[in-house]
């Protein structure tokens, strides 16, 4: 077991955004969390990563680092690619003196190669395409050898070919690191290409849990509506969603 979430609850104001959610993700497994905008998907990632405090429930993770890949990459725009990737190695108290500058350079190079990039160490994030920024953020996330990787809509806003490339790297990182991964996404291609299991959220509750292939069978009213992108079904879009 790498991540176990038990009866998780998160309330914003008087709205229960996460309502008694439980699931497990094992090492080397990828779970996709899907659902409409505002269904609480990204909130779960923020709770697991510690960016938000839970109101009740339990989040049990194995010892080790949790990495997160943000929706819009969240690269540090005042630092070049190399410094972005090496950020934790330079700034974290427990890692600061662990590596020499030459070792850090080598680690940066290795991580960049792992995401199919080479020779861009000196470039700044603003000089990279959206897909390249995503891949650099992957490299930054895995620099501390995490045993849990969280992806917040990794293919949002990318063209189909860049999306496929990113999906391939999600699979590759899982194989290379044997990390437990959670991918929050709307995109069917990302679900089918990267996930071993799928959890669907609606109004903060899990309404479906199964494999991507079972999801496509459309036995469940919720997944059927999601897969067919229908306005008719149990999930009602609120204004503003």
């Amino acid at each position: 077991m790498s991540i176990e979430v038990k009866n998780l609850v998160k309330v914003f104001g008087d709205k229960k955004v996460i309502d008694d959610v439980s699931f497990k993700v094992n090492d080397g497994e990828t779970l996709a969390i899907v659902g409409f905008s505002g269904s609480g998907k990204s909130t779960i990632l923020k709770l697991i990563s510690g960016l938000l405090e839970k109101d009740s429930g339990e989040i049990i993770t194995s010892k080790g680092d949790i990495a997160m890949v943000f929706q819009y990459s969240a690269l540090f725009d005042s630092l070049n690619v190399a410094d972005n990737i090496a950020f934790a190695l330079h700034e974290r108290r427990d890692l600061r003196k662990k590596f020499t500058e030459d070792e850090i350079k080598e680690i940066v190079k290795q991580k960049l190669e792992l995401v199919g990039l080479k020779g861009i160490e000196k470039l700044f994030p603003s000089e990279l395409s959206g897909g390249m920024q995503k891949r650099v953020s992957f490299a930054r996330a895995i620099v501390t050898e995490p045993n849990t990787i969280l992806y917040d809509e990794p293919t949002a806003g990318l063209d189909p070919i860049s999306s496929t490339l990113i999906e391939n790297y999600i699979v590759r990182l899982k194989e290379e690191t044997n990390a437990a991964s959670i991918v929050v996404t709307h995109q069917m291609s990302t679900i089918t290409r990267t996930a071993d299991r799928v959890v669907m959220l609606y109004n903060g509750k899990i309404v479906y849990e199964g494999t991507p292939s079972d999801m496509l069978k459309q036995d469940n009213e919720y997944t059927k509506q999601f897969v067919t992108a229908s306005l008719e079904g149990p999930m009602k879009m609120m204004e503003g969603n």
């Binding site: 960016l51 949790i66 997160m68 943000f70 725009d77 934790a88 330079h90 700034e91 501390t144």
Partner: protein, 269 residues
């Protein structure tokens, strides 16, 4: 909702009271957050491990980049004051006191407070908008997920640079201000440089200098801490960045005037 309650909520009285409440709440909330960040900053400083490269960069930004505008503002303020009073004082037979008056005014107040204002407008606003942008683009969340303390990484070099550089800026600004006063007094009232500087030295005591430098330390630290805090708690998008920057500038202005008043009462009353 009852009709009475509906009319009450539309009334001017209700709006005035809720407006006052919201303003007071915001004031206490901001003060609390700045204090909390100040405590976290002290803890981070005690733990040590300051990023020297970043500290040098921030010192250069705080001290060197701000210098042209700071010297311009302090120099021009001195020119304005000297041009207003020099001729009148010479006419009244007080020409020998112009240097003294200018040096007291500049060393005790003008250099440090005008430098403070210039640094708020140039550096404080830039620190607040930079950190606010990092907040709304999730860069601060990324720092936290990478297990780096954002206060240690973002606040420490900026606040330390304010504390270190502000006294230097103040010393240079004071020198430029006194010199600008001498040139203006010569041009407007025909006062010789010798007469100006002879009385200028008489007006300044060591106490004036060290109180001015102590003020500069407090001003520099306060401006940087407030600017960092306001940026750190920004929310929303571009509007949030704008609001955080405005808040940083307003709070910094008010804070240094309050500090100035405290120093005036504590040391010269």
């Amino acid at each position: 909702m009852g009709t009475l309650q509906k009319y009450f909520k539309q009334s001017a009285t209700y709006k005035i009271f809720t407006g006052v409440y919201d303003t007071f709440y915001d004031f206490v909330d901001t003060l609390g957050k700045i204090t909390q960040n100040g405590i976290q900053l002290i803890k981070a400083l005690i733990k040590g491990g300051i990023d020297r490269k970043e500290l040098i960069y921030q010192c250069s930004r705080f001290g060197v980049s701000s210098l042209p505008i700071t010297l311009t503002i302090v120099g021009m303020t001195s020119v304005i004051v000297a041009s207003q009073v020099a001729l009148e004082m010479v006419k009244q037979g007080g020409g020998n006191f112009i240097g003294m008056m200018m040096s007291i005014l500049i060393v005790r107040e003008v250099a440090v407070i005008m430098s403070g204002f210039a640094i708020i407008s140039m550096i404080g606003s830039s620190i607040a908008s930079e950190i606010a942008t990092m907040r709304v683009t999730e860069q601060i969340d990324a720092i936290r997920v990478l297990k780096v303390d954002p206060v240690s990484y973002l606040f420490v070099p900026r606040v330390l640079s304010g504390i270190i550089m502000m006294p230097f800026v103040t010393i240079i600004a004071a020198a430029v201000g006194v010199l600008a006063g001498a040139v203006t007094s010569d041009l407007f009232a025909g006062l010789s440089y010798r007469a100006y500087f002879d009385s200028a030295w008489l007006g300044i005591y060591m106490k004036d200098l060290w109180v001015s430098l102590l003020k500069a330390v407090f001003f520099g630290g306060t401006i940087a801490l407030i600017s960092c805090s306001c940026g750190y708690y920004a929310s929303g998008g571009a509007k949030g960045v704008g609001l955080a920057t405005t808040k940083a500038v307003v709070w910094s202005f008010v804070a240094i005037v309050v500090w100035d008043m405290i120093f005036a009462v504590a040391f010269f009353f």
